[in-house]
Every structure is written in structure tokens, then in C-alpha cells.
């Protein structure tokens, strides 16, 4: 019997590994293919400048998508992230501009702005979470509602126009987006940190396990002494925090916020999460995949800027096709299933 078990074990390992690995490397493979296509279209694709741009750009969606991974893993959804980013950016700018008189245009003001952003992110996330759990309203409706609310608030604050950061503060704040450390721009470092923290949190802590359990079966989670409402609320808070981080590195890029800031980020973030292999219905989340998903999405946009072979109008078509094909390739365990 013992021998049986041992041989069984190795046998299953051989059988399982490839399919498991394929699902894991699927997104990586898709990204690789995209990069090859990019290189063939224009060798400048792999120039250091372009790769840096690409990574930096992925940071926004990537950071938000890390948060979304938690929400989705625990069986929720958050449609409000794009608007939330716009609203946080708006309030940050108002606060920093307002603080110029008393605090000057130095680091202190910028830190104040960042602090407020974090507080707002946590607060906004908490509102989403509390309405979902305590209010027992579907996450879809709650976040659709707050999406409209945050978006219109930023329009209101900006009086329909654009809120712009004081020019001098911009000077202080600019390096956060544009400067590099060890060859990598700061946003990329933030992205890396958020990704690592997210990965540890999801895969190496009790909290992450709870998220997965809740997404997998809420009743079982409840019976397993998990405070379901609290964990779910926390996932939204994490999402809010991630949005705040993304906003903190976004504001110095364009120095402004308006009603059109962050439009459709929610869809991009969710798409990144799902391209990465997380299951939309919850119960299974992969931070690593999410990161790759965000990179894939950014790369698609980047590649389309590389060529004028296709009518600009068809960008959306290409984007849609690539997303579908990327996910299709990755999901095709059936191939292995057949050959086995």
C-alpha cells in the first residue's frame, strides 16, 4: 500500500504538472508572443526607453488590479475603481493646492496629499465593503452606484473642467513619476512593492486563505469561524488602498484630474485580473497572473501605437481580438487533455 501510494504520487505529479504549469505560464506565453510581434513590427519596441515606458504605464492598472484580485477572489466585484481614482486625484490636488499657503510647496505638502489619498482610498473602499456586507446589496450595484457618485463628485469639484496641481508643487512632486532608482522609474518600484505585498498577503497569510475560502463557498467559510463580512470588507479596503497608491503615482504624471480621469480603468483592471487566470466567480486568485495581465493589456496598446498598418479606428477590434485569443490560448487545457 505504501509503495502504491508512492508510485501513485509521482505518477500524478507527472500527469498534473504540465497542465498546471500551462495555466500558470499561459499569460506569460501570451505576453512573450506579444513582445515578439512588437519587435517584428518595430525593433524600437525593445529599446530601453520603450520598455521603461511600458512598465511605468502598466503600474497604474497593475496596482489597481492587484487590489481587484482580492475583491474578485473573495467573490466580489468593484466597478468604482476608475472613478475612485479620479475622485482621489481631485481631492488630493485640492488639498495640496490649499496647503500651499500654510505649508509651502515642499515635500510636506506632497506628503500631506499622499496621506489624504491613502485615507480617502481606505474610506472609499470601506464604504463599498460596508454597503455590500452590512447593507446586503449586490457588489455590482453598490460599486456601480459609487462609480457614478465618485465620477460626478470630481466633475463637481472641478466645476466641469480640470483640477490642476499648483505649478510649484508639481516641481516637487514630478520626480515621483519621472525619476528613476537603479534604472527603474519609481512607479515601477511601487508596482513591484504592491505586487510582492499582494502576493504575500494572498498566498502566505491567513487573510489570503480566507479570501479564497469565501469566494469558494461562503457558507463553508462561515462555518469555519471566518468573519465573512469583515474579510470581504477588507478586500474592498485593500482595493481602495491600491487605488490610492495608483493615484499617488498618477497625479505627478499629468498633474491634473478631471471627469475623464480613469475612465474604464475598472474594466481594464478586471480584465487584467481575469486574463491572469483568476476566476471571476471567486475562489481562485493569482496575483502573478494579474501582473502579467496588466502587462499584456498595456503591451497591446503600446504595439498598436507602433504601426499605422491598421486604421486607427480598428484599434479596438485588434485589442478585443488579442484579449480573446490570449485568454483562449491560456485556457486551452483541452489540448493537453486530448494529447494525453
Amino acid at each position: 500500500m505504501t509503495m502504491m501510494t508512492a508510485s501513485d504520487d509521482t505518477a500524478t505529479k507527472q500527469a498534473k504538472r504540465p497542465s498546471v504549469d500551462f495555466k500558470t505560464i499561459g499569460p506569460a506565453l501570451a505576453l512573450l508572443i506579444l513582445c515578439v510581434i512588437g519587435f517584428m513590427l518595430n525593433p524600437a519596441f525593445v529599446s530601453e526607453g520603450n520598455l521603461t515606458n511600458l512598465l511605468t504605464r502598466s503600474a497604474f492598472i497593475g496596482i489597481i488590479a492587484v487590489g481587484a484580485t482580492f475583491v474578485i477572489t473573495a467573490g466580489g466585484i468593484d466597478l468604482s475603481v476608475g472613478s475612485m481614482a479620479a475622485a482621489i486625484a481631485g481631492v488630493m490636488i485640492i488639498i495640496m493646492n490649499g496647503a500651499v499657503e500654510t505649508m509651502g510647496t515642499g515635500l510636506a505638502t506632497v506628503l500631506l496629499g499622499c496621506g489624504c489619498a491613502l485615507v480617502l482610498g481606505i474610506g472609499a473602499g470601506w464604504i463599498n465593503g460596508a454597503l455590500t456586507t452590512k447593507g446586503k446589496i449586490e457588489a455590482f450595484i453598490v460599486t456601480l452606484g459609487t462609480m457614478g457618485i465618485y465620477r460626478s463628485l470630481v466633475t463637481y469639484f472641478a466645476d466641469g473642467g480640470t483640477l490642476s496641481l499648483n505649478f510649484d508643487i508639481r516641481g516637487t512632486y514630478r520626480p515621483v513619476y519621472y525619476d528613476s532608482f537603479l534604472g527603474l522609474p519609481y512607479p515601477v518600484w511601487v508596482f513591484i512593492c504592491v505586487a510582492i505585498c499582494g502576493w504575500l498577503l494572498l498566498n502566505r497569510t491567513a487573510f489570503g486563505r480566507y479570501c479564497t475560502a469565501i469566494g469558494s463557498n461562503e457558507a463553508v467559510a462561515k462555518y469555519s469561524a471566518i468573519n465573512v463580512d469583515r474579510v470581504k470588507t477588507l478586500t474592498y479596503v485593500i482595493q481602495g488602498l491600491c487605488v490610492a497608491f495608483a493615484t499617488i503615482i498618477y497625479v505627478p504624471r499629468l498633474g491634473s484630474a478631471s471627469a475623464s480621469t480613469g475612465v474604464l480603468w475598472e474594466l481594464e483592471a478586471i480584465a487584467a485580473v481575469i486574463i491572469g487566470g483568476t476566476v471571476l466567480k471567486g475562489g481562485y486568485g493569482r496575483i502573478g497572473g494579474t501582473i502579467l495581465g496588466a502587462l499584456i493589456l498595456t503591451t497591446i496598446g503600446n504595439i498598436l501605437n507602433f504601426t499605422d498598418l491598421i486604421s486607427n479606428y480598428l484599434n479596438g477590434t485588434m485589442q478585443g481580438l488579442i484579449i480573446i485569443v490570449a485568454v483562449f490560448l491560456q485556457r486551452s487545457d483541452w489540448k493537453l487533455g486530448k494529447s494525453k
Binding site: T5, T205, A206, A213, N217, K222, A225, I226, N227
Partner: protein, 507 residues
């Protein structure tokens, strides 16, 4: 009964069936046939491959080798329940009902009665009502499955199967969640079907039932066919022995008298909760307290309220002498109070996850080291649990949903015990467990009690309650109708309290 002057030809035959999941073999050249008008029981240990064989017989799995013969002809059964059109109906071991839909919708799912293209709801409701009345089930066709108790769900499964005019009715542990009363009602249905010439396959771990209802018995052990015999030639003990391959000693451990002066660990006073009238009782250290009663008598509801799973509407609870108002489940666990659910599929285990995350989920704070999970400790815990509870999985990384039913139950027990509770409430401890393992579990419970852990056993299996409990509380309709001790713990007494024929005023 079984003089069989001329055995009728088998309706369905499995010939030399082997089955592997990937590289893991679970059945080795097993043969079995079912004749019209017979009840053919299939028994074996947990994980022996009974469910797998049943699924192959009804087309849900393809055999890796071997063949299925229907009316003597080699057939490839249509997949996914398509075999129903050939008259082969399977009641799955795992409940197979759409929770959000009503009883009527479930019973007729996939073969709705239509008139002029539209559903004839009235006809279907009437039909379901007839079946429900026949089987004595007190629910309405328009009730949602999610509102039913697990036993009621099982009865709905039976109604669903019975309503399908089967030639072959395959039932995988239909009685596991039923009380004896319900089982009797159910058996009357089986007799009726049998008379009308239906061939019935019956899987059960309750060997007395097998003895009662079966005409022939096939025994599987570790995926191997052991024997097929007329049930008249077998006693339950013989069956048990053939299943496990060794002589079984006493099923129940010797009863140690409880210390009646031991401290009270749990005192419940006039507890009111959803489905529970005011109830009061107390539990002592090292005591095994049985809770008996009919389906829906509120036993589960009492303990779900105590453990923080349901709101409490009144009364007080004392734990180890201290007031413990309404608690969260986590608080209850931290104070040493743990509840093992009877609904392992919906509330007990994450079916799409592997064994290890399931095992440690309940006691997860114990595995936290430096803010992270101690994966080594988790791994060790799994090794320990597999040994201690004899969880038989041929592949450790298998998702729990693919474990055999009994092994799921063992894993669930292991999961709850992982937090080292001082009071453990076990709801239906041996649901779907084979005799050999049952014995282990009973000894395990007795050992726990001997170590000073208090155990509450909620069970619908009367012998089990009688065999291991020091004291028995009987409930009816949300109220406690009697508390039995010593010699009073016998089937007669319990039944009288449970049915409301006798009632004692407590306190």
C-alpha cells in the same frame, strides 16, 4: 424468497469493469449484474469504488476497460444522465439538486411536462404532491431546496428518482441522512418498485438495512470484486468482515461511566433561537451527550445558535462557568467550542480545494507564524490527520470534491479536531462512513471523552446514540421533551419522547 427457480435475465450487466482516474486505478475488473425486481446491494469500505462503479453503470463515467451490457447487448451508455432515457436512473451520493429552484422544478428537471409547448405547472405540482404524500414528506412542491433540511433534500432526491419510471434505479447511500422512520417509509417505496419489476441497486454502510432490503449483495474491497451472494446467506457481521478483510471486534467501545460530579462546561438556560423553543440543558466535562429526535426537531438549530452560526433570541449560555453571551464562531472556537456540520458539501468543505487548505481552515490562526502561514506545520498537520483519521486518498493533491464521501467525512472530522476543542459538537458523525471506520470513530469519541473533552453527538442513528452516549437528550419541534440516562437509554424510550407520546417536565 430467493428460491430462484429460474433467475430472470439481468437488465444491466457490468463485465470486467476497470477504471482509472488519470494514472490512479480505482476499480479492477469488477463485474456485477442487476435483475428485474431485485434489490442488489453494493457494500464496501470508504473509497472502495462503489460510487465510481455506480456512475459507470449509469453512464456518468466511462469505464477504462470492460463493458456494460444492457439487456444482454453491449452498450455505450449516453453521458450525463442521458441514460435516463434508457430507464437507468442514478441518485448521486452527493446531493444533486439546484438549490435556488423549487422541489417541483428539481423533480422534473430535464423532462418537464409540457402542453402546447408551455410548461404544465399544475400537472407537475400535482404529480409531485402525490409523490410527496406517498412518501410522507411534509413539504410543498413550491418550497425552495435551499430552505429544506438535508434529510428533506435527500427525500426529494428519492422522489425525483422514483418519479422517473426507471427500469434500473441506482441509489448511492440514499439512507445516509435519514432517520430510521424515514428509512422505513423509503423502504416501503422500494418494495413497491421491486414488485413492479424495477431492478434496484442500493449502496449503504448501514448493514442492517442491507440485510433487510437486499436480495443479493456484492462486496467490493479496494476496487476489487470480492463476492456476490444472496443476502440470506449473510449476516451483517459477515458483511462487515468481508468488506474490511478482517474480523471486527465490538463496534462500540466499552462505556466508561461518566463522572456525575465533573464540572459543568456548558450550561444552556432557556435558549430561544430560530426554530428553537426555550431549551435548557447542561454538559459536563468528559461527558458524551447524545441528541436524538426526528428530522427537523431542532437539534442542529440549537447548536448552530450556541456556536454563533445563527442569532440568539433569548436565554443565556454559560461556558466553563462564565457567561458567554452571543458569540461569533471564532470566539466559540477560541474558547474551545467547535461544531461539526452535518452538511459536509454545502457547509463543511471547500469542494474545489485540496485537502490541506480544507484541513487547516477552521484552526488557521494556530498556523500563523510571524504574520504568515507556517506551511510546514500545515503539511505536518495533514500527515497527522491522514494517519489519525485514516483518510484514504490515492492522490494527496486531489480536490476534496473528488474524494469518496466517507473520506470527505473523515477529513471534516479532522478539520474540526484541528483546533483541539474542549467541547465538540458532532452533527451526524458517521454519515456515510463504513463500519470499520465507524468503529474507529466511536473509539475516537470515547477516547476524547476519557481525556476530558466533552462531546455532543447529534445523530439520527439510534444504535449509535445508544451505543456511545452517557446521557441522551430527546428533542421534538424545537423543544426538549426528555433526558435519558443509564438503562433508560433505549430505542423504545427515545422514540416515545421523539414522537411526542411522552414528555417530561424539565426543571
Amino acid at each position: 424468497m430467493n428460491v430462484e427457480p429460474a433467475t430472470p435475465a439481468a437488465i444491466i450487466e457490468a463485465v470486467n469493469i476497470s477504471k482509472s482516474f488519470g494514472p490512479v486505478p480505482v476499480l479492477f475488473s469488477v463485474s456485477m449484474d442487476v435483475r428485474p425486481g431485485e434489490v442488489h446491494a453494493l457494500i464496501g469500505e470508504n473509497g472502495a469504488g462503489k460510487s465510481t462503479l455506480m456512475k459507470i453503470l449509469s453512464g456518468f463515467h466511462d469505464p477504462t476497460s470492460g463493458q456494460i451490457r444492457l439487456d444482454g447487448e453491449k452498450t455505450a451508455l449516453p453521458a450525463n444522465g442521458g441514460a435516463e432515457s434508457l430507464g437507468i436512473v442514478l441518485i448521486h451520493q452527493e446531493l444533486n439538486l439546484a438549490e435556488q429552484m423549487t422541489v417541483e422544478e428539481n423533480v422534473f428537471l430535464g423532462r418537464e411536462i409540457r402542453s402546447k409547448g408551455f410548461l404544465d405547472k399544475a400537472a407537475m405540482r400535482a404529480a409531485v404532491q402525490t409523490y410527496l404524500d406517498e412518501i410522507g414528506l411534509d413539504i410543498s412542491p413550491t418550497d425552495r431546496i435551499s430552505d429544506l433540511t438535508i434529510a428533506q433534500k435527500q427525500m426529494v432526491e428519492i422522489v425525483k428518482a422514483v418519479s422517473r419510471n426507471a427500469r434500473i434505479l441506482i441509489m448511492d447511500e440514499p439512507t445516509a441522512v435519514l432517520t430510521e422512520e424515514e428509512t422505513d417509509v423509503f423502504f416501503r417505496q422500494v418494495e413497491k418498485l421491486k414488485k413492479s419489476g424495477v431492478g434496484i441497486v442500493f449502496v449503504s454502510h448501514k448493514l442492517n438495512e442491507v440485510k433487510t432490503i437486499a436480495d443479493r449483495v456484492t462486496i467490493l474491497r479496494d476496487g476489487q470484486w470480492i463476492d456476490t451472494r444472496a443476502s440470506n446467506d449473510l449476516t451483517p457481521d459477515m458483511m462487515a468482515q468481508m468488506m474490511v478483510g478482517r474480523e471486527l471486534s465490538d463496534l462500540y467501545p466499552p462505556m466508561h461511566e461518566a463522572d456525575i460530579d465533573a464540572e459543568l462546561v456548558l450550561e444552556v438556560d432557556n435558549l430561544v433561537a430560530p426554530g428553537v423553543g426555550p431549551v435548557s440543558f447542561a454538559l459536563r466535562k468528559g461527558e458524551i451527550l447524545g441528541f436524538s429526535g426526528l428530522i427537523g426537531s431542532g437539534r442542529t438549530a440549537v447548536f448552530e445558535a450556541i456556536c454563533g452560526l445563527n442569532p440568539i433570541e433569548g436565554g443565556s449560555i454559560k461556558l466553563f462557568g462564565r457567561d458567554a453571551g452571543p458569540m461569533t464562531v471564532a470566539a466559540a472556537r477560541d474558547q474551545g467550542l467547535a461544531y461539526l456540520t452535518k452538511d459536509r458539501k454545502e457547509k463543511g468543505l471547500l469542494l474545489d480545494k485540496q485537502m490541506q487548505p480544507n484541513l487547516t481552515l477552521f484552526a488557521l490562526p494556530k498556523f500563523v507564524k510571524n504574520f504568515g502561514l507556517d506551511r510546514k506545520a500545515e503539511e505536518d498537520a495533514l500527515n497527522r490527520a491522514i494517519r489519525r483519521f485514516d483518510v484514504r486518498a490515492k492522490d494527496r493533491n486531489i480536490t476534496v470534491g473528488k474524494l469518496s464521501g466517507g473520506n470527505q467525512q473523515k477529513l471534516l472530522l479532522a478539520k474540526i479536531m484541528e483546533c483541539d476543542p474542549k467541547i465538540v459538537i458532532i452533527d451526524e458523525p458517521t454519515r456515510g462512513i463504513d463500519v470499520g471506520t465507524k468503529q474507529q470513530i466511536y473509539h475516537f469519541i470515547a477516547a476524547l471523552a476519557a481525556e476530558g473533552v466533552s462531546v455532543v453527538v447529534i445523530s439520527s442513528e439510534m444504535p449509535e446514540i445508544i451505543g456511545i452516549c452517557h446521557r441522551v437528550v430527546v428533542m421534538r419541534e424545537g423543544h426538549i421533551t426528555g433526558v435519558l440516562t443509564g438503562d433508560h437509554i433505549n430505542e423504545n424510550e427515545i422514540m416515545r419522547y421523539a414522537a411526542g407520546l411522552k414528555r417530561e417536565d424539565l426543571q
